[in-house]
Symmetry: C2
Subunit: 212 residues, 2 copies
DNA sequence: ACCTGAACACCGTTCAAGT
DNA sequence: ACCTGAACACCGTTCAAGT
């Protein structure tokens, strides 16, 4: 309140940290009201700025959404990384907990989940975003690490961990997608399906597919 | 050319079968140019009618797209049903061929696939569409039938076929989705991943998950 | 019955003008 | 530097008016 900076910050003209506010509010709108509810008019009205102020910080609405996606990946990683790194739990236990946490994230943040793992804002990422796609892969690399541990302990068969991870991720992602998009009319059977899926995966991964 | 009806059909005012033309052209546009390319202005311009002519046959653009989805399900069923019904092939063979055909459909018609199995035009189906959702499930019921055959032959363990089908479908759907949405950077390894997935699924389905 | 053309309310984006 | 407000080019939808 004493420095000129603080006065400047509380002025209505200079918004302070408009870029961060845009990202946070946009993520909240997407998450709670759906992707269609995110219009620049509504977003800027809530923040008390004009529409075109957005273009001081992002070249386009798409670029803003890519920033939201980045924030989304961080949130998911924040949930998954501690589980992966919890060396007190067994591999099988962490495998189960990571799957559950991933599914829970999709169920509680369906719009955000579709944004992260859909196609709409994926192709353009390489062109528009200034960050590397490390974040996109951290979750997958954690899974690969877990599968390597499982291989070492003899819980699953030795095989290309990238291929194993792709298969496992596809299974969970497919389950999450079908669920949140309303194609599995068995939300009440969800626990049964999840437990069954995990057991089929673990059982299937035990054997090396040799023939043909 | 002789009857009044045929003359009427060739007239430019009465379009003949505008509803069917709308659906066919819309599906083609979606399939070849993406969902965003489908605007009523472009669609009606190609068919030589006014924009509002659409509203004589569909209450909204959304309803038109639901019709396109219906046509899409028919096309997929046309590909899968013959494989399922080919009793000359073994169960394992049909399981493999159905998976491949399903994946091929997704890869060759990504936008249409997302339309069929995404969320955007799914929630509203029950309210807007006049047809039953049989078509949506025929593919799933075919899979359930195949799994029941496999159970009878002792190829896989006895279990709730609905749960088994959900798990298998989720795996293939997840693979298809990650692929066409660009999240698996291994399109060249696709054959390896698919073969591995199928073997993990079949191996995993062999054992009954008893414990826990 | 079926279609037209103008109008409406939205959207993202641009840009000269303000401070 | 940062923001404003008006304007632009799109979109789906509506409706009085034509045949």
């Amino acid at each position: 309140m004493n420095t000129p900076e603080s006065i400047k910050k509380t002025s209505s003209y200079h918004h302070g940290n408009l870029k961060e506010s845009l990202l946070t509010t946009a993520l909240e709108m997407v998450d709670k009201e759906g992707i269609d509810a995110l219009t620049l008019r509504e977003l800027t009205m809530r923040l008390g700025t004009s529409r075109s102020a957005v273009y001081r910080h992002f070249p386009s609405k798409e670029a803003l959404i890519l920033g939201v996606i980045e924030k989304g990946y961080e949130r998911l990683d924040l949930l998954l990384t501690p589980i992966f790194q919890d060396k007190h739990s067994s591999v099988a236990e962490r495998f189960d907990r990571m799957g559950r946490e991933y599914l829970d994230f999709a169920i509680h943040h369906p719009t955000l989940y579709r944004l992260l793992f859909g196609d709409k804002y994926h192709r353009e990422r390489e062109e528009l975003c200034d960050y590397k796609d490390e974040n996109q892969a951290t979750g997958l690399y954690a899974l690969i690490g877990l599968l390597l541990e499982a291989q070492e302990q003899g819980i699953i068969a030795q095989a290309n961990p990238m291929v194993q991870a792709a298969m496992v991720w596809a299974s969970i992602h497919g389950l999450a997608s079908l669920l949140i998009d309303g194609h599995l009319l068995m939300r009440e059977n969800m626990e049964e399906i999840y437990v069954y899926s995990q057991s089929v995966l673990l059982n299937g991964l035990k054997r090396i597919p040799k023939d043909e």
